[in-house]
Amino acid sequence: MSSALPIISLEQVSKSFGKSGAASAYVAVDRLDLQIGRGQLLALLGRTGCGKSTIFNMIAGLTEPTSGTVRVDGRNPFQDFDFFRGKMAIVFQGDRLLPWRTAVQNVELGLEMLDVPAAERRERALRWLATLGLKGHENDYPHALSGGMRQRVSIARAFATDANILLCDEPFSALDEMTGRTLRAEFVRLVRDNGKTAVFITHSINEALEIGDRIVVLKRPANIAIDLPLATTTPAAEKEAIRHQIQTALAA
């Protein structure tokens, strides 16, 4: 259940690449205002190159806005980078598993950063691998796993830290439709069961409709085109109307 108090807040945020103010500067995000409530599962939808990943990186504290303020839990995620250790986890577009670590060692990565004792670390990692259907593959290296399995490991890695905020950058876009759908359903269940706040970036309307309890459609450069609340109980006919609305916004 989402609370009204925003846990993530972007106010008049802009991000440009290249020399600021120069004619050649590329504006990726343009004076964006966005508030995300605690416990909310927000689907951030936009066409390729509209600045979704830049927003994602700013929320994650991996890059700084050119202007405006980004606040996560009341703090600046770029300047207070270390404060968010264990409080924020990311599922990337690719699985980004460390090839020199086995599946279980990859899941343990975030827990190592939190200085969780080795035995507890292993126990939690094994539990998450089992939850995601990877029992028996704990000691496999990434090259021995299929694309879907590797992405499951990366989801397990994000959930294992028990972070309150999950940022997901098109994590299922490289998977086939069936695997993607299964993992999406699993992901939504885990987010809801564990009371997480999640920002889910996608360029797929279907994925946004399946996942989000709020869909924000971005125009280019990134700013809100439409902001739509959604509920699991939203009737199919209404969802179709929303789909049409999103398609119109994306086409514009």
Binding site: A89, I90, P99, W100, L109
Partner: protein
């Protein structure tokens, strides 16, 4: 159903392949040794000594403490020089990755160093330093430093940005970042750098000892040259070759253990 013959057939195939591989490795050495032995029948011993004499000298070196100490001194100098160059080179490479200004400043200097012949460093060392060991250490470090620095620098620059971002997203401390990401990512290049520099260092150390030392394989080679003792010269040279082969084998073993995670394609290049 598995037949009882299946397993032995597989093991025979495997051992035959291993045998063929071993044979292909040994045959060139046997041919060269045979040609040498054949030449020794027609030439005086100071030109082509019998391999039996060379073998006896090798055993003599390995079983006489004063001579073995010379071999060990050379090995110690090679390892100390390489370790020193690696530590300094890795530190410089990290600084160069972190700061463009440092990179712009150090790159031309290191390139310049690469162009300086090993013998020039020997002369500089004799002029600048008094003790034998500081001289040789300096020569070893200066001749292998540029290669180590550039190899570590290249490895650091080639690290996957995606993996780096992923690890950074967990907010690691600097020490943990090095332990979980940077060192495993650059380890293949570090081992390659060691393999390459090991060969270079074993050649340079002989030059350094030849001119500026009173002990070691290089010094002993100088003695053999003055005595026109070809069997001794070969035996001392072989000590260094054996060391390089053993060190390469150790590095290969480390590689096979450290990189067991790598996928092996059924089709090779």
């Amino acid at each position: 159903m598995t037949t009882p013959e299946a397993a032995p057939a597989h093991s025979t195939g495997w051992s035959a392949a291993l045998g063929r591989r071993g044979l292909s490795y040994v045959v060139p050495f046997v041919v060269v040794a045979g040609l040498w032995q054949f030449a020794s029948l027609f030439f005086p011993p100071f030109l082509f000594p019998s391999l039996v004499d060379v073998f006896k000298r090798c055993i003599d070196i390995l079983t006489t403490w004063s001579q073995l100490a010379d071999v060990l001194a050379t090995v110690g100098r090679i390892l100390a020089g390489l370790a020193g160059a690696f530590i300094v080179g890795a530190a410089l490479a990290v600084l160069m990755v972190r700061s463009r200004a440092v990179n712009d400043f150090l790159s031309p200097i290191l390139t310049l160093f690469q162009g300086i012949p090993a013998l020039s460093w020997v002369v500089f060392a004799i002029i600048w330093f008094h003790g034998i060991e500081p001289r040789i250490f300096f020569i070893m470090v200066m001749t292998t430093l540029p290669a180590f620095t550039f190899q570590v620098l290249s490895a650091l620059q080639a690290m996957s940005r995606d993996l780096m971002e992923m690890v950074m997203s967990f907010r690691p401390t600097r020490a943990k970042l090095f332990r979980v990401m940077i060192i495993p990512a650059i380890l293949p290049d570090i081992l390659t750098a060691w393999k390459v520099n090991l060969g270079n260092a074993s050649r340079v150390v002989v030059v350094a000892e030849l001119v500026g030392a009173t002990g070691g394989v290089g010094y002993e080679l100088l003695q053999q040259q003055q005595l026109f003792d070809m069997a001794g010269a070969l035996a001392w040279t072989l000590q260094l070759v054996f060391f390089v082969l053993i060190a390469q084998a150790v590095l290969s073993f480390v590689e096979s253990v450290a990189f067991r995670y790598r996928a092996v394609s059924e089709r090779s290049l």
